[in-house]
């Protein structure tokens, strides 16, 4: 952890802290050369294939997959906070319908933080209540934000017994997802649940280091995630793909874009210099879901684009990234592209909170230096 009372060490690093080992973490291991991601010792492929969001979020936050008793307690805790506070939902009535859904969701969270201040004191039990409340309120508030974009009222089903992923889809779509939809969506949450000390996690950690509460840390992470260089990239990647009519058009455009040396959204990752393990997990889900919704052509266009781009760029370590594939799960589910960042945020905030819980004990406030140039 970045704020630990470690001794001072000498390090060499580049602009933007490139290569700086900012601290230690026991949450996830990313091997960019081999394309491996594991969470607390469990390979992401195994988690996505066999585990629920409830199990994996427990693993991320509390360090181990839950046994039966822990799983039922954690599931019940998540269910308990599914209904968000009324005034937070009412905030939707005071913002324009055409505002960005992530910004609306952020606004509802900032309002919710005005309603439960006492419960966010640092001495509040951090192991259960606060992460559960943030995860479940977030999912329900985000669902309301997405509906508001279409002028639809928030839904308030009795869903304490539904799973986290199912409850979010139910509150968003107004119907229960089928098994295929649920599995694909849940897999997308699981593979995006944690990814080391990326910019958003660093923002969350910096906030927690000031003694602020977990909700404040999540809001800072969300800020970083909203940027087009980060979470907003999945919207850009899908919008690019959606403009390509068929496989031939995709290949043609790719060749032209590559010739122009244009940056192609949905490709390349700063850590993975090989196929992204999360892409390999999600592709079969996207394909099955698109086929089931009669959108198989869309998947073939994606494959054509990927083949063309990777043929040219894979020698330089550029492959399809996770931002390029998640939209192909969220689109057949009926989410608008502007809402694609939301499931990413709902998932990865679990990782931010885990970093905050790992950091908190006795950490130093994060305060690097700057060098003044000139006089």
């Amino acid at each position: 952890m970045i704020g630990g009372r470690r001794s001072v060490e000498v390090q060499r690093y580049g602009r933007g802290l490139e290569g700086l080992v900012a601290g230690e973490s026991a949450i996830s291991r990313i091997d960019g050369a081999l394309g491996r991601l594991s969470i607390r010792g469990h390979a992401i492929e195994d988690l996505a294939a066999a585990r629920s969001f409830e199990e994996v979020s427990h693993l991320v936050l509390f360090g181990a997959l839950p046994d039966e008793a822990a799983l039922s307690a954690w599931t019940a805790e998540l269910g308990r906070w599914r209904r968000p506070p009324g005034p937070a939902l009412a905030a939707l009535g005071r913002v324009p319908r055409r505002a960005h859904p992530l910004a609306k969701y952020r606004t509802m969270l900032t309002v919710a933080a005005c309603l439960a201040p006492a419960a966010e004191q640092p001495d509040d039990d951090p192991r259960w209540s606060r992460p559960a409340r943030i995860l479940s309120w977030s999912a329900s508030l985000a669902a309301a934000a997405i509906r508001h974009l279409n002028g639809e009222a928030p839904l308030d089903p009795d869903d304490a017994s539904l799973s986290h992923a199912a409850a979010f889809l139910h509150r968003t779509l107004g119907r229960a997802p089928d098994a295929l939809e649920l599995r694909a969506f849940e897999a997308s949450l699981i593979v995006q649940i944690e990814h080391g000390l990326h910019a958003a996690a660093l923002a969350a950690l910096t906030v927690i280091s000031t003694g602020a509460d977990l909700g404040s840390a999540v809001l800072a992470g969300m800020g970083a995630l909203s940027g087009v260089r980060h979470g907003g990239a999945n919207q850009l990647a899908f919008e690019r793909l959606a403009r390509l009519g068929d496989e031939a058009a995709a290949r043609r455009w790719a060749v032209e874009a590559l010739a122009r040396r244009e940056r192609i959204p949905g490709f390349g990752h700063r850590v993975y210099r090989c196929p992204d393990p999360r892409v390999r997990v999600l592709e079969p889900h996207a394909e099955a879901l698109l086929e089931a919704h009669g959108l198989g052509e869309r998947y073939r266009v994606y494959l054509a684009l990927r083949a063309e781009v990777e043929r040219a760029l894979s020698p330089r370590g550029i492959f399809a990234n996770v931002d390029g594939i998640t939209g192909l799960i969220y689109h057949p589910l009926g989410l608008p592209p502007s809402a694609f960042t939301i499931p990413f945020c709902l998932a990865i905030q679990t990782g931010w909170m885990a970093h905050c819980l790992e950091y908190t004990p006795g950490g130093a406030m994060i305060e690097p230096g700057a060098v003044f140039l000139g006089r």
Binding site: V8, R15, H198, S209, L219, P368, F372
Partner: protein, 405 residues
Amino acid sequence: MIARSMPTDPTIRTLSGSYPWQADHIDWPVTTEVGPGLGGVIACESRVSWLDPSAGLLMYRGVPVERLAGGVSFEEAAYLLITGLRPEDGPAACAAFARRLRSSRALPAGVIELVRALDPTVHPTRLLRAGVSALGCHELSVDDELSGAEHWRELRIVGQVAALVAEIACHRRGEPSPAFDEEESLARGMLRALGGDEPDAADVDLLDLLWVLYADHGLDAPSFTSMIVASCLADPYYNVVAGLSALRGPRLGGATERVLDQLLPVVPAGEAGARAWVRELLAGGGRLAGFGHRMYRMADPRAVVLRRELALAARRRGRPELFAVFRAVEEEASRLLAPRGVHVNINFYAAPLFHLLGAETPLLSSLYAVGRMAGLVARVHESLAEGRLFRPVSRYVGPAPEGER
């Protein structure tokens, strides 16, 4: 407190107080000591402000803050920080800049309704964060460019944050929303919202001074948070929500409020009583708010400026005992703490000054945030121009993945 060691290799820029924090250029990559909380790390270059903790020196764009103090309005200091130009070199441009900040104080009705629907006793920084977030929904639509680059250029957010804090101050007292005149300075408008119907010029100058001194201070946690968020190309409203989330942490903005919580009850005890109180507090291992700073190993230069201001303002306001008690506590605490490298910081004297200006204690962090907006915008402009992205890594210390070593 961080253990400090002297550098042995002159190329190693360190946590040590001898580090100049100033250079003509940096050759990346650099080699530095890395301490807890990224202490000693060089996160970036900046031309905005220069903090030399060993000399007790803070400069905005090369101008020592002591020289700015009392000489410029907050709008002028913001102009200096954000554009890098001296106000005296372009009075017309500076006046146009000030008008832009002042004219962005009209808030959308939905934002005011959202704030007014919340309980006025909620901590103002939380209300402010909700208000800024709602503003972002009104200012940017789903069809707009996601990075909000235009909004950074327009600087609207600086005036908007000032207007929201004024709105919250009125909401707390059950007063109607404040109206702002485009000609009226941000400081004067705020003083009216704090309850001064016809603020006198000396008070306006004082609030300007407080905001100028709080406008920028190296790369502290709120600035660093904002810079990370900006580096991902997020819009200004995400950025300020994130910065406020850090600023409201008890170790930062909350510290200003704690100064009043701790010291106002001591004022009736008089100088001698206050000295005895602080001796007892420190002997018992208690912490005195407004003392200690991560960077300075000497009195914070801003506190020195504000000590003088408190003497003047307390006399002017007919509250000389306020200054006498704060000064006595500072002297007594400095005698006991200076040998341990703990000195008075800006919050110690800023807090009673905000109090004299009519601010309720919980409003102090939010008032501080208004000043800080200038430095925040300046730093974001700088980092957007460079296209900087923060990307450190962490060392994995968890269990080995199954099937791997």
